[in-house]
């Protein structure tokens, strides 16, 4: 195995990790505002890709407006999820919350098929890829490895969103209000923060972040209506790996998970690619055993 091909696997892993990082950011955003882990997070990613495809194909909207409409649509779904499912069960405990978000995941991932039958849009049930953001240059070389421009977009977007979310939570009134509504809901309410409203906004932000992830990944990989579950779980693994509850941990964990997964696939002969979807979860079991607080250390995991 030459140094260049190892570098190539790392490059591929970093760009895949960018998407995991975006999904992990979505998990973290909701958790920091509400102490809820949203198992339907991966569906936001799937919907981001699926809706963009829908606007491009059926509505014949140009790429950027289609992507913007898709993000808007996913934000509405995210807010709907909070209002219809999360809000009614908010006092029922962790088990019901886990099952509720899993139920939402079942509903969202199984809705596209009947909807496509009703609206006569059979293509919605097929795997799809989205067009690339920039098409003038296909890929560039780094030290002998090739990286496609789309992957650079994915990396850039996850870093930019990390920065934006960091500034939002630390420097804006609303961001701080969101933080306070999970740290101490009662105190937050006493100083005039509308806690439930903050949770709703957190779902909206998280859905938007997830949708962007979906739009960025769909040109690189085939996506389908049922792709969300696995992506969501891997994003969650990334968030735990980096340090649960931290924005920086989510992004770091996402990137590390992407690279580790890519290296497993590339470097383990035969079994690496055959069991491709397994490595992330083995990483999870290892991290939960040896360092459940993750790489950066988390205060939220005992």
């Amino acid at each position: 195995m030459s140094a260049i091909s190892i570098l190539q696997f790392i490059v591929v892993g970093v760009s895949m990790g960018a998407v995991y990082a975006l999904i992990a950011l979505g998990f973290t955003t909701i958790f920091r505002a509400s102490n809820i882990v949203n198992f339907a997070q991966g569906e936001f990613v799937m919907l981001g890709g699926l809706l963009t495809n829908f606007f491009l194909v059926t509505c014949a909207v140009p790429y950027l407006p289609a992507a913007a409409l898709a993000v808007l649509g996913v934000v509405l779904v995210g807010m709907g999820l909070q209002v219809l499912v999360i809000h009614p069960i908010r006092k029922a405990g962790v088990l019901i919350m886990i099952m509720g978000t899993l139920g939402a995941s079942i509903v969202i991932s199984n809705a596209p098929i009947p909807l496509s039958s009703i609206a006569n849009l059979g293509y919605l049930r097929d795997p799809f890829t989205l067009p690339r953001i920039t098409t003038s240059v296909e890929s560039i070389g780094i030290l002998g490895a090739r990286i496609s421009i789309q992957r650079i977009w994915a990396i850039g977007a996850s870093l930019a969103l990390l920065g934006a979310l960091y500034c939002f939570t630390n420097y804006t009134r609303m961001g701080k209000a969101m933080e306070s509504s999970s740290t101490s809901p009662l105190a937050a309410r006493l100083v005039g923060v509308r806690v439930e409203r903050m949770v709703l906004y957190a779902f909206a932000v998280s859905a938007a972040v997830g949708a962007v992830g979906g739009i960025l990944i769909a040109p690189i990989f085939n996506m389908r209506y049922d792709s969300g579950v696995l992506l969501g779980l891997k994003g969650f693994v990334g968030a735990v790996l980096g340090g649960w509850g931290k924005l920086s941990g989510a992004v770091l964990g996402g990137f590390v998970l992407g690279v580790v997964e890519s290296l497993c696939v590339g470097l383990i002969p035969e079994y690496g690619s055959r069991y491709q979807q397994m490595w992330a979860f083995l990483v999870l079991l290892v991290i939960l055993y040896f360092r459940p607080t993750g790489i950066l250390g988390s205060e939220d995991v005992e």
Partner: protein, 319 residues
């Protein structure tokens, strides 16, 4: 005799024993499946309802039981009864190994870790072709038999499965009444308090995890002889969610409740929703959410609702 007549175990056993006299044999198709899934749900009820530990990977333990039986009977000509015992050992053993790291976590993380374990099992079984047949799985598994007696008709299987279930429920009832059972309840309420009372929290958690995996292994082994085949998609996360849902609907810490809920949900899923084809999963998801929103404490809690209402009525009358 009077005490016996009031015993739930006895009542249910009598009803199930005389049922074949009154209903057509077709009816037992779903009742057999209901019994098999109920055995797994019993294990989940012990783990979740008594000890308060969630697992979204129990389908994998069923799968381990199923695959052990399938491999031993089809490729090593092992008698089914022996393969059945091996299945229980296999699922318990893997639960013991995997339980140590996994059970250090709680709540959301325990859910994720067990989900991850289930996904590892699915990827492994669906991507391994030799011996276990990849996505196609294994077929041609013989019927359950003990000492040459083969259970082939639905009625025979009905008696077999419910007899096993009754034995397992008696074992579970006996266990939860002992010191061990009280330790589980203490752990589910407050782990810190439990450990300060001298309860070996990690040890008990591992014990209940292994026992509930053994129940799942029994269910998986029976399922594979019932269907005479096994495949990875039969043991995915949706089955784990189904088992957790059955425990919620039946009421936490209510063993017969979990059985009744499993039979009812099996009927709903296999006999009713399946006719809606591509809508079935969507409808199932919606029903799941509605259950969580309106009866998060199980259907048994509805009875309490009526009692409380009646009380409130009398209070008003008093004023």
């Amino acid at each position: 005799m009077k005490r016996l007549a009031k015993n739930t175990n006895f009542q249910v056993a009598v009803v199930l024993a005389v049922l074949p006299l009154f209903v057509p044999e077709d009816f037992f198709r779903f009742l057999c499946l209901g019994a098999i899934y109920s055995i797994a749900a019993l294990g989940m009820s012990l783990l979740l309802g008594y000890a308060g530990q969630i697992s979204l990977g129990h389908a994998a333990f069923m799968g381990i039981g199923a695959y052990t039986t399938a491999i031993l009977t089809t490729q090593y000509n092992c008698p089914v009864s022996l393969a059945f015992l091996a299945s229980i050992v296999a699922s318990s053993l893997i639960a013991y190994v995997i339980g140590k790291p996994i059970l250090r976590t709680k709540g959301f993380f325990l859910a994720l870790a067990t989900l991850g374990f289930g996904e590892i099992f699915f990827v492994f079984t669906s991507r391994t072709d030799p011996v276990i047949g990849g996505l196609v799985g294994i077929g041609g598994i013989p019927y359950f038999s003990i000492a040459g007696y083969e259970f082939t008709s639905y009625t025979q299987m009905h008696y077999l499965y419910w007899a096993i279930l009754l034995g397992l429920i008696l074992y579970a009832q006996a266990m939860v009444r002992t010191r061990t059972g009280r330790a589980f309840r203490a752990i589910s309420v407050d782990e810190l308090a439990a450990s300060s009372m001298g309860i070996d929290v990690a040890g008990y958690k591992l014990k209940i995890f292994v026992i509930s995996a053994a129940y799942a292994g029994i269910a998986g082994s029976l399922l594979t002889t019932y269907l005479s085949m096994t495949q990875p998609y039969g043991f995915r996360v949706d089955l784990s969610i189904f088992l957790v849902l059955a425990v919620i609907v039946g009421g936490m810490g209510n063993l017969w409740g979990a059985v009744a809920a499993t039979v009812a949900l099996t009927w709903l899923k296999d006999e009713q929703l399946s006719q809606y084809q591509e809508y079935s999963a969507l409808i199932y998801g919606v029903i799941l959410i509605l259950i969580l929103v309106f009866v998060p404490n199980g259907l048994g809690s509805l009875r309490g609702l009526f009692v409380r209402r009646a009380k409130a009525g009398t209070d008003e009358a008093a004023i």
